[in-house]
Amino acid sequence: MRRGFRKVLPFFCLIGALLLLLPCGAIGADQPTGPKMVMKELEHDFKEVKEGEVIEHVFQVLNQGDQVLEIREVRPG
């Protein structure tokens, strides 16, 4: 009787572990995390430029979230 129980114990443990993990996965899948702003770079150095030139740089923004990323304002400092 005891031997039989020892044989099936790992199986029950595995089932138990899966049952514990199942709700966690379900929660993660249902809840949106929101937008996530990721910049490819935060700084750009033009090095040497001549006075009078208009210098321009395009920063790439990635949205790695699961909702629309809204850029509300870009305020020069």
Partner: protein, 158 residues
């Protein structure tokens, strides 16, 4: 002067463009812009652009500030330095503070470096703002303006 994409879909990519006009700048510049979004974790991020603005003629400092007692002459010096590999010649042009400030141009290094010495003319307490224009033989910079500000207070009476 920024321009940017207002909405970026999940997994998408957008652009933020920063523009800097270098007119009137000299030497290192460091400009930043604060980006505000609906990202719940990082609502604000700061972007920076840096550059070193090269000028044909370097003015150090770019502005003159005369401050002190109105009863005494206050002196400030501006250095004008050629940054191109050719001789620089300068001549004073328009000046609009004749009754308040005097100036003198000295050549320090032939064709390379000059010094303009400004001196306040003693008189009543006053504040003023004006300029001295400098004409040059450089086609890249035929004229420069040295801005002058004065804040001269009256003497202490005891």
């Amino acid at each position: 002067m920024p321009s940017f994409d207002r909405a970026i879909p999940p997994g998408g990519e957008g652009k933020i463009t920063l523009q800097v006009k270098t007119d009137g700048f000299q030497g290192p510049i460091d400009k930043s812009a604060v980006v505000t979004s609906n990202d719940p974790v990082n609502r604000q991020i700061t972007l920076r652009v840096k550059a070193v603005v090269q000028v044909p003629i370097l003015l150090t400092p770019k502005y003159v500030y005369l401050s002190g007692s109105s009863e005494q002459a206050v002196t400030r010096v501006v250095e004008i330095k050629a940054e191109l590999d050719k001789p620089l010649e300068i001549t004073p042009g328009e000046f609009n503070l004749e009754q308040k400030v005097s100036f003198k141009v000295e050549e320090i290094e032939k064709g390379r470096k000059y010094r303009v010495r400004f001196e306040s003319i003693p008189g009543p307490a006053q504040t003023y703002q004006g300029f001295l224009k400098i004409k040059t033989n450089y086609t890249e910079k035929p004229e420069m303006t040295i801005w002058i500000r004065g804040r001269l207070s009256g003497g202490q009476k005891g």
